[in-house]
Amino acid sequence: MKRRRKPSSPIHLSAPPLTVRPPLYFPVAGAMDIDDILADIAVETIPQETRDLQELTRCWVAERVAPEILAWPVELMERVLDRVRRQIELVEDQTGNMDPKTNFKLIVIQTELERFKFLVRSFLRARIAKIDKHPLHILAQHNASLTDPDARNPLLSPSEHQYLTSHQSLLSTHYSSSFLGQFPAALQRLDDTAGGISMVDKPDEDCAVFVRCLRDVGEVAVEGTEKVIRIKRGDVWVVRWCAVRRWVLAGDVELV
């Protein structure tokens, strides 16, 4: 029995089955241009909904892995939330319909809906956790991103910004009514930098992340060390966040 299971036919050794998009983690030397063309064509034939799901999943993974908060994907979130709303309406419309066929369809829709809701919820909660952890630092970054012409999207959504500012004012009121109000005036600030230590806490930008390279990046120097690494398409690396941050934001490298 064991022997028969072994692949004996030569088909296994011939060319791999044709896929629309070659797997990204096996770089094919020399075939890069064709890959790129194929990838471009593939992207256009995939419907917007599927691409949004991919993008949302990617945002979610990245947000959960990256030490700092990433820009708010305005358009993507608008599309996703709009679709969620429409699906909920559809479900509400169709409930009460006892036709088994629609009933089954509804279950499929609802399952998908639950999954989408989970993704969005987890994504938002990951962001809120970061906002709560480093509020002043993120606020400064957000304000910088508003005036920065290079930043395509602001760092925070309007409601997140509102949450951050009200939470921060709540906290400072709480501190000052609990003890800070009785302090000497010079010591009442919460964003003091005197004495060489800034009171504003920052995320650890040196922490290690797993990344997969989507497009050739070339040589990457890791700050603070002598190390220079060559990142090629399809590679998976464990590197410091600050070393690859630029390319992650540009979309050349994705977090895994």
Partner: protein, 215 residues
């Protein structure tokens, strides 16, 4: 000794992190640490008074050193106090997120301990583990959270953070929860009965401990 109270506060904060409930607010210690800061500040003022604004550290190294120590102690106390309060507010926020009604629980505790006193108004009674400021903070934070959640009604932000596997789950009723409305009609949840229901309909009840999920 300078900074001793601050140190104790930090130890309290550290302990709070691993506790399930919130230990009583150490108003005595907070007050002592604040007093220490004020005293130190007065000390600094008295030391600097004879110099009338023209103090040169290099000519008077001994005084400069005393000033530095005082100054660092004040900063350290501030850090300790901030850390203590932040740890507690973090804990309170966590409770708000998980849907625990902190204030109600406090009132229950205080009515159990103090009888007809109602919600404890001062930290001098041991009945409430929150300071009045913290109670106010919890109230306002819940409002803030509700406002933020209100913008995401479709998503239900405080919902489960476990990836959903099935639309329907088996649950067992632990406490009578009355009748709930689902899209397939009303279900009466009586103790010890078992149901196969939509997860979204009963998530709140599971979190509140009325239902138990069966795997």
């Amino acid at each position: 000794m300078y900074g001793e109270v601050g140190n104790k506060l930090v130890q309290h904060a550290k302990r709070t992190q691993s506790l399930a409930h919130l230990p009583p607010y150490q108003s005595e210690m907070v007050r002592a640490a604040t007093r220490e800061v004020r005293d130190l500040d007065k000390d600094v003022a008295t030391i600097l008074e004879p110099f009338a604004g023209s103090f040169n550290p290099s000519t008077e190294p001994a005084t400069a050193c005393a000033l530095l120590v005082n100054h660092l102690c004040m900063r350290r106390n501030k850090r300790c106090l901030l850390a203590y309060h932040r740890t507690r507010t973090d804990k309170l926020e966590e409770m708000c997120w998980s849907g625990v009604d902190v204030l109600e629980r406090q009132q229950q505790q205080s009515s159990k301990a103090g009888g007809d006193g109602g919600p404890a108004m001062g930290t001098d009674s041991n009945s409430s583990s929150l300071s009045p400021e913290e109670e106010e903070y919890v109230r306002q934070y819940s409002d803030l959270l509700a406002a933020y959640k209100g913008q995401w009604t479709d998503i239900d932000l405080t919902g489960s953070l476990e990836p959903p596997r099935d639309l329907f789950i088996d649950v067992r009723v632990l406490k009578d929860a009355g009748e709930i409305q689902t899209e397939y009609g009303a279900i009466t949840l009586t103790k010890n009965s078992q149901f196969y229901v939509r997860q979204g309909d009963v998530e709140r009840l599971i979190a509140q401990g009325y239902l138990q999920r069966l795997s």
